[in-house]
């Protein structure tokens, strides 16, 4: 057993968490299926669109796992060896409740202050400290009064000061919760903490190293005198750091001095890397640190300072980052005797991995995850099949002298049963997953020539939709397609490693039509049994091929 903690810092961090959640939903990325993953987003800008979208996904997953839990009416017993891996990884909010202030359970906002001036109580500082403050903050009045409600707006040094102030407070709820999860389960229980974020933004660039250092501090073992004597051997700290991989429109002239411009991204990343080089050499806060970049930048054709309108479309690099998270969570705990350098207390040297791509397009073989094609592909087929076909089959009533169709038979629902809310929770989750994957494909298509080698939503994309930079595509509603059209589209949805389509609908129909309800066992209930059967039908096909 292990406890996994995933912390997304900033907008890019939130997007990596979104990709990781989708990967976890597919059953990838944890050592054992019943290892819980605690998720937390860190952002000063609570309304940030990227953060909001990930929180929305997290809520949908939690809703799905709650409504379809083993004890529920349509429950799935995920502990069963033959249960579908889809949705089997337990996702938890980092915080159990929001406390008296009713704070968000999936998010930590470093400070409630309106600006840095308030955070550090600049008005109460002594003369020499005030001078030091003006020395550190070049354009001190602007930066000290920067409205933090829109985040740190690319000013990592402002964010660093604000976040550092929060994490040094021993009563801060984030620090207390991490400490609780590290210490609580005992020395024999493994705890993996993974931080994800960017090296070039505001919140990510400032929060990522500070939180890594703080967490590293929390896992230190101290003697009675408070002296550092070693590290908790059961706690691993990982990091996934994104170098610039997207670009955006140049900010308007009036805002140029306040925010990061596209041309600032690389110099900022270079500075960040120099800092991290120093950090991993000297302080070694990470057991594993993954640094990812992308050769040609994804183009987001808009600029937003922050807030709800800053919603960047999902992109392929985030999926790569998610595989790094999965790799960290599933890596064996490295023996603490690997490095005995003085001052390391037997901790191993940091591991730096670099990934690169040689071909002009991205296929499954380029994605560094052993089960990704099988499980991710199965999840997409399952999601598409359920959304565009199974849901409608469940609503069909048998004709004259006909037995109920396979969906109704396998669902084993008693007459008059209303599972609308459960089905809506599933539908909402699947829609999110499908749109995410379709957007990744759409954004990749701008960069790569030729057809997608991972998945292809082509006929399912709503061509009549007026795209916006934040929402470049939407998918067709199942009611807008005939059964024949949707089934044909689903047969081209996922690709194999060799690029050929996985035509699965007839094999799935054959499996489901032949399946006897009693063969599903009693571990899954009603529509939960159908879900397991449908997942098996799309998975089996992949295994067969």
């Amino acid at each position: 057993m292990a406890t996994n903690i995933l912390i997304g810092v900033g907008g890019t961090g939130a997007k990596i968490v979104e990709a990781t959640l989708i990967q976890l939903l597919a059953g990838n990325g944890v050592e054992h299926m019943n290892d819980p993953v605690y998720v937390c987003l860190v952002d000063q800008d609570e309304s940030n669109g990227n953060v909001a979208r990930t929180r929305d996904l997290l809520k949908k997953i939690r809703m799905f796992q709650g409504r379809w839990a083993k004890t529920q009416k349509n429950g799935i017993d995920w502990s069963d060896a033959a249960a579908p891996v889809f949705g089997g990884v337990r996702i938890e909010n980092l915080f159990q409740d929001g406390g008296q202030a009713n704070l968000p359970v999936d998010m930590w906002k470093p400070t409630d202050a309106l600006n840095l001036h308030q955070v550090i109580s600049a008005g109460n500082l002594s003369e020499d400290k005030t001078q030091l403050l003006h020395l550190l903050f070049q354009n001190s009045d602007n930066e000290l009064k920067l409205d933090l409600r829109a985040g740190y707006q690319g000013r990592a040094h402002v964010g660093a000061a604000a976040i550092l102030t929060s994490v040094t407070d021993p009563n801060d709820r984030f620090i207390k919760r991490i400490e609780e999860l590290i210490v609580g389960p005992g020395e024999n229980h493994r705890v993996n903490i993974c931080l994800v974020g960017s090296s070039f933004g505001g919140t990510g660039a400032s929060g990522f190293p500070i939180l890594a250092r703080k967490i590293n501090e929390l896992r230190k073992v101290r003697n009675r005198e408070g002296l550092h004597t070693g590290y908790r051997s059961n706690v691993s700290v990982g990091g996934v750091l994104m170098l610039p991989y997207f670009s955006f429109r140049t900010p308007p002239e009036a805002e140029r001095d306040e925010v990061v411009a596209p041309e600032d991204l690389m110099p900022k990343a270079q500075m960040a890397l120099e800092y991290y080089e120093d950090l991993v050499k000297k302080e070694k806060p990470f057991d594993q640190l993954y640094i990812l970049g992308w050769d040609r930048f994804m183009q987001f054709d808009y600029y937003e300072k922050g807030n709800a309108n800053q919603v960047n479309p999902a992109t392929l690099p985030e999926l790569f980052a998610a595989t790094a998270v999965g790799r960290f969570f599933t890596s064996p705990l490295v023996s603490s005797s690997a490095n005995t350098d003085s001052g390391d207390f037997g901790r191993p040297a940091c591991q730096l991995l670099v990934s690169s791509r040689q071909t002009a397009n991205v296929g499954w073989l380029d994605v560094p995850s052993p089960y990704l094609e099988k499980r991710f592909g199965a999840m997409l087929r399952f999601a598409g099949y359920w959304h565009y076909h199974v849901a409608a089959e469940l609503d069909k009533r048998p004709g004259f002298l006909s037995r109920p169709n396979w969906a109704t038979r396998l669902a084993r629902a008693p007459k008059g049963d209303d599972s609308r809310e459960d089905l809506d929770a599933l539908k909402s989750l699947l829609s999110h997953v499908l749109l995410w994957a379709a957007t990744v494909q759409h954004m990749a298509a701008k960069e790569f020539s030729g057809e997608s080698k991972l998945w292809d939503f082509g006929p399912l994309i709503n061509g009549g939709f007026l795209p916006t930079p934040q929402l470049p595509i939407i998918l067709l509603d199942p009611r807008q397609l005939t059964e024949q059209q949707s089934l044909a589209a689903l047969n081209f949805l996922t690709r194999r490693e060799n690029g050929s389509s996985v035509e699965f609908t007839s094999a799935a129909f054959d499996t489901l039509e032949n399946m006897k309800p009693e063969a599903l066992g009693t571990q899954h209930r009603q529509i939960g049994a159908l879900l397991a059967a449908v997942y098996t039908s799309v998975m089996m096909n992949e295994v067969r091929s």
Binding site: T505, S506, F509, D510
Partner: protein, 173 residues
């Protein structure tokens, strides 16, 4: 034995069963002296002669029955073979194949009519057999061949194609 071969084999068994039932009816309707036509009964000198006439009529009827079921069997096997090659993705796709089933059934019926016309010596049989018995056997053989076609295809077409046979859901597990 693979599922496909098994289904073809079982469909053959069902056809044979129906053919055997028909043969039983033929035997039943040609076994009594009263089954012979009035002319035969009037002209027969003894019971042995009457028995020979009925036996000849029975042979003719059994031969016809055999030919009818051989062709029915061929159509059954053809439908199961064709349906096996289909890979429907939904029940509607299987249902759409009902048109093929009906075409084959009518072809089967048409072929039965043709072989009856060309291969069955009606006048000779009618001369030997009571008219009522003849028409009953004619109806039984035709109805049972078509019933065999429906039942064998409905039972032994592959599961995903069950809906290509009308009311085959009645046989579903």
């Amino acid at each position: 034995m693979s599922g496909k071969i098994q289904r073809h084999f079982l469909a053959t068994a069902i056809t044979c069963l129906f053919a055997a039932v028909c043969a039983g009816f033929i035997w039943f309707f040609t076994s009594q002296f009263t089954d012979a036509s009035a002319a035969v009964r009037a002209n027969a000198s003894d019971s042995a002669g009457l028995g020979q006439v009925l036996s000849a009529a029975r042979t003719e009827m059994l031969s016809w029955c055999f030919k009818a079921f051989v062709f029915t069997w061929l159509f059954i096997q053809l439908f199961i073979f064709m349906a096996d090659r289909r890979e429907p993705s939904a029940a509607n796709e299987a249902s759409a194949y009902q048109s093929t089933w009906f075409i084959l059934m009518f072809l089967n019926f048409f072929v039965l009519a043709i072989i009856s016309y060309f291969w069955v010596p009606f006048t000779e049989i009618l001369a030997r057999l009571a008219e009522g018995n003849y028409w009953i056997l004619l109806a039984i053989i035709n109805v049972f061949s078509l019933l065999a076609f429906w039942l064998a295809t409905g039972l032994f077409v592959k599961s995903a194609m069950k809906r290509s046979v009308p009311f085959a859901d009645l046989f579903a597990r």
